[in-house]
């Protein structure tokens, strides 16, 4: 159902649409503006756009730019293996928030996707997995009913089909415009992960910049294995909120991936160019010993 009158949907396999969406994205993303030159927000260097590869790294300092689900799929999943779930799901307006439909439509235009997460299944270096990828370009990756429901369904499907699940997180937290129902999504996704866990299946989270609030306080922190991209901001409370509470200066590197590694909340920090290979290896090592080898195969 097309409630918000959006005429076109992006297709992950159609290069024409992808180009269109890329263009739209570049126009609205401050870190990569349209034109020949872009400025890296980390090293402040002006860089030639053509030097930025499909991994979206700063050619000067190696900073990991924020990625869209389409870009993530392209560098993570085996070519042509991604099959999307629940693509048509759209939010309602549980709290009656003024012009929520308009806000959603704008976010769709800006991001080129329907809602804050893309879910589906794929192969990574030959290994089957269910995958969910959040998008910080869509209302800061906030979790409302659709994000919660799509992730929960993906987890439940992985449980049914005895597949591992990989979730790429990036989120500002709960979707405030949906009120208390957005808070309930945290419990919903977590309970589904509890069942996946009890079935002896593998859950890997890949934390990307930024992962905060209700997503950190639910599925981001529940992986059997928690990977993170370098320097990603990962935390529960926002830095301004903390500063407002304690009136102290925050330490250098506070809530970055390296900080979380040091404090024991992240297993490994993985450079984006090595992520596919590492995920492939993790999946393979688990399929050798677990139940997911025979029954988890899908064609």
């Amino acid at each position: 159902m097309n409630l918000f009158g959006k005429k076109s949907y992006f297709s992950l396999d159609n290069p024409e649409d992808k180009r269109k969406n890329d263009k739209r994205r570049q126009q609205s993303e401050p870190s990569i503006p349209d034109g020949m030159w872009i400025k890296c927000n980390t090293c402040k260097m002006i860089i030639y756009k053509k030097e930025v590869t499909e991994y979206k790294l700063c050619p000067n300092c190696g900073a990991h730019f924020r990625m869209s689900p389409q870009e993530r799929i392209a560098v993570t999943c085996d070519q042509g293996s991604f099959e999307e779930f629940d693509r048509e799901m759209l939010p309602a307006n549980p709290m009656g928030y003024p012009d929520y439909e308009g806000i959603i439509r704008k976010a769709q235009d800006k991001s080129g996707i329907q809602e804050g997460v893309v879910t589906g299944r794929c192969r990574i270096e030959g290994n089957a997995a269910v995958i969910a990828i959040m998008d910080s370009h869509f209302m800061m990756g906030s979790m409302g009913s659709v994000v919660g429901e799509k992730v929960t369904r993906a987890v439940e499907r992985a449980t049914r089909e005895k597949l591992p699940i990989i979730i790429f997180t990036t989120s500002g937290g709960a979707r405030m415009q949906e009120g208390i129902i957005s808070l309930m999504q945290m419990a919903k996704v977590s309970e589904a992960l509890g069942r996946h866990d009890e079935a002896g299946l593998l859950y890997v989270t890949v934390l990307t910049d930024p992962t905060t609030g209700g997503v950190t306080a639910s599925f981001a922190m529940l992986g059997d294995i928690i990977l993170s991209e370098p320097k990603a901001l990962i935390g529960f409370a926002g830095q301004r909120v903390i500063q407002g509470t304690i009136h102290q200066k925050l330490p250098e590197g506070f809530q970055r991936a390296e900080f979380q590694l040091e404090h024991g909340f992240v297993d490994r920090i993985v450079h984006r160019e090595e992520l596919r290979e590492e995920l492939g290896r993790i999946l393979r090592l688990h399929s050798l010993s677990g139940d997911c080898k025979e029954e988890g195969e899908w064609k």
Binding site: L90, S218, M221, F236
Partner: protein, 265 residues
Amino acid sequence: MNESMKSVTIARMIERPNARQFIQEIFEEFMEFHGDRLFADDGAVVGGIASLNGMPVTVIGIQKGHSLEENVQCNFGCPNPEGYRKALRLMHQAEKFHRPVITFINTSGAFCGIGAEERGQGEAIARNLLEMSRLRTPIISIFIGEGGSGGALGLAVADQVWMLEHGVYSVLSPEGFASILWRDSTRVEEAAEMMKLTAGDLLENHVVDRVFREPREGLEKNFTETAEQLKKALEETLPQLQRLPEEELLQKRYDRFRQYGEYTE
């Protein structure tokens, strides 16, 4: 002041009876246990074992104080990770000994500080959500005052969620809502109204299963009657939940939280 904002104000009153008072009033033989066995004892979370008319139970509450001094002890009812982990330890203990769990919620939210982040506030809450969803013993959560976001939910994944008449429960404070979404902190009342955070609104949304009346003169003046109602309700409900086969209990709890979400496809 609109009705929603009235409830917000009442829920936050420093005189409002706190978790420890409700525990003392409803249960007998309360014995407090301390510590998460990992880092520290969090004064914001009170917990232990007690008896409800002879039935052993585990009780846990988020504690607010009536004075500045008391509030320093309990960090104004804002738990640190060790508070959530203490609660989880006590809940696993309850599961082992087949005791039901009753949690009393009253917090503006989980504490936002450097130490809380260093010790994994997000992980602590996340773990509680997952573990509570599969805890093999009945859980009832009672919102007696403020229910602030993930900090409240971290002790409220329950078979039944109850609330006092002027309790509130929301994804963030109305002040936060107005200043973040509208960049206008003067629109707090309007935010409170829109957020549907009152007991009545939440009952309608099925976030809350049951609401308990507060006395006209104010809960702080007379809470024995409300505590008595809660006690009676617990005495009726807990045996019903305990009689359910474990798998059915867990399935019902799963379905309770699985239903939330409004979308089209």
